[in-house]
Point group: C2
């Protein structure tokens, strides 16, 4: 890591607040020597937590006060209107004012989305923000966007998601031309809804995107592409369906190994194997979703994240900041818009 | 089983044709004493396969000739136009002419959908057919529709899916008032696309449906409801995403147990447990999707179904026929239409 990165953390957000954010912050400081962190929240609570952690890099971590906290179930519009001194809002303000390059929060997704959009504004040429995250695959991982920010999308918006996602995957995974698939219900060109078919034509026409055609739901896990593009309704259903199935399966495994003394013994012997399987799809290793399309970098951690998971969200933020993701998106969206304008002139 | 059921089987359909369909047919005859089967396809091939199976109930199984076979990758429109003597088409004709109560095919889904719709026609008041199937859950199974027949749906169509699905679940699982959930990306009323929000209002207003509100992707596997309603794009993505995840997981299990002599031994000791887990979500036990909304019962088996799986599709067909699912749907949709008309008059 070469470039200095300054990051604001919504230290009060998530189910566990400072008790997770502060230890994760301290461990990230050891990992990244050029990382500077600003913990935003109630100073007394944060000071106490910091001294408990015996923070080893006091020159690279500071506290910025914020008196309020956005509740996990609070309505986004109310949070935006009424909580102007919340840890979430103040952490975003620090990015807006250029004091920080990136903000990470485990707070209420809707409120974060609405507040980030209000505070940071959209990049020129981008209609709507999109949520992107990685999921494990047979061969590594695949990014999926949008995961729920936009229920209903036009072809142009899906196209923009592909552009933004390509930049992100390039920045974070250092893949020069990420393979992009458009999520559909068949790989034939006649299949699917009109917006998806039209988005395919837009992507095909853009040489800047490594568009590989339609993919189906199973390809999220096959590793066929690096990035799967879909609207937020479909992406959110795919994500939550996966969570539901994974939960059911781990429940089945628990039940079947717990059935009788013999199966319990088999489970004991299998423990290293079961742990290895679990590790390969540990959601904590995939924690951290980026809100793309904003004039600033915002990372959303899962609300229930533990220290390891939250540290991953910080790591994602460091990578995105080092590669100046918003600038790259602005540049690529700008040239795409120019290309369309030129195309129109011909 | 009391009522006589006559079923036509597309004996040439699916990846394995008669070598799967005929043995599955023979085993179904032993199970259901009132079941009569007509194998549709090339008589020589079928006779040969029947004599190999030494079919024990010759009075309840017969062969109906059809010279052509619809290819698994053939375009639906071409199959419909050019293959008028295909086993699929003739098997559907037998239902149309009233000689059979139900038709089962493991053939090309698109061709089956198009041909069934052309031959049997829609029930009055139903706009579009929908595909319904069961998926395993923590507590049993949940039905999901539509699984891919309709990419884009209006609120009215989603409402009709809920009506048709309720009838099917009632008929097959004997649940008097199946709990119906509408798939969305949040349980709050403000979430989601307009068609889904409007469908929720239609379902709330209909006392004949046991509508339980919005559900999310994970609820497909939680067993919270008996029936999950969504458009075919979303349903298909959810289904295929699940297939992809399940495939990846079983691959991880195989790889991790195969890693070294110790893990192989652990796998050997765990074999009964692993088999028990596999059994609880064996897709063969859930094989058989119904095409609802037609003037006749059509069951689609997975193309790669083996004997056990195809026998399950036959079982589903028997249940649907015994409970006269299309008549019940017509009745319920009819009263719903009347209710709407009366509602409009007020």
């Amino acid at each position: 890591m070469d470039k200095k990165v300054c990051m604001s953390l919504d230290a009060m957000g998530g189910d566990f607040g400072p008790s997770v954010v502060v230890p994760a912050a301290v461990s990230a400081l050891s990992e990244y020597t050029q990382l500077h962190l600003i913990l935003v929240g109630q100073p007394e609570v944060l000071k106490q937590e910091l001294s408990r952690q015996r923070a080893p890099f006091p020159e690279r971590i500071s506290i910025h006060p914020a008196t309020e906290v956005v509740g996990m179930d609070e309505s986004p519009s109310k949070a935006l209107r009424n909580k102007k001194d919340s840890s979430m809002r103040i952490a975003l303000d620090l990015v807006k004012r250029g004091q920080c390059d990136v903000m990470v929060s485990a707070g209420n997704t809707g409120a974060l989305m609405a507040t980030a959009r209000f505070v940071l504004k959209m990049l020129p040429g981008v209609d709507r923000p999109a949520i992107i995250s990685a999921l494990p695959t047979m061969r590594g991982h695949t990014y999926v966007l949008d995961l729920g920010a936009n229920s209903d999308c036009t072809a142009e918006q899906l196209y923009q998601f592909a552009v933004m996602g390509s930049v992100m995957v390039h920045a974070v995974d250092h893949i020069p031309r990420p393979r992009v698939g458009l999520l559909n219900i068949g790989v034939e060109e006649i299949k699917g809804v009109e917006s998806v078919k039209h988005a395919a034509r837009l992507l095909q026409a853009d040489d800047a995107i490594n568009y590989c055609g339609f993919v189906e739901g199973n390809d999220i896990y096959s590793g066929k592409v690096d990035l799967v593009v879909c609207d937020g309704f479909v992406g959110n259903v795919a994500l939550k369906t996966s969570e539901g199935l994974a939960h059911m399966l781990s429940e089945f495994i628990r039940q079947e190994y717990g059935r009788n003394p013999f199966t319990k013994l088999a489970g004991l012997i299998s423990l290293p194997v079961l742990k290895a399987i679990k590790r390969r799809m540990d959601p904590r290793l995939y924690n951290g979703a980026s809100l793309l399309g904003l004039q600033g970098i915002v990372i959303k951690s899962h609300g229930g994240a533990d220290e390891l998971a939250f540290a991953n969200a910080i790591r994602l933020g460091v990578n995105a900041a080092q590669m100046s993701v918003p600038d790259r998106i602005a540049h690529l969206v700008g040239s795409a818009l120019q290309g369309q304008a030129h195309g129109g002139e011909q």
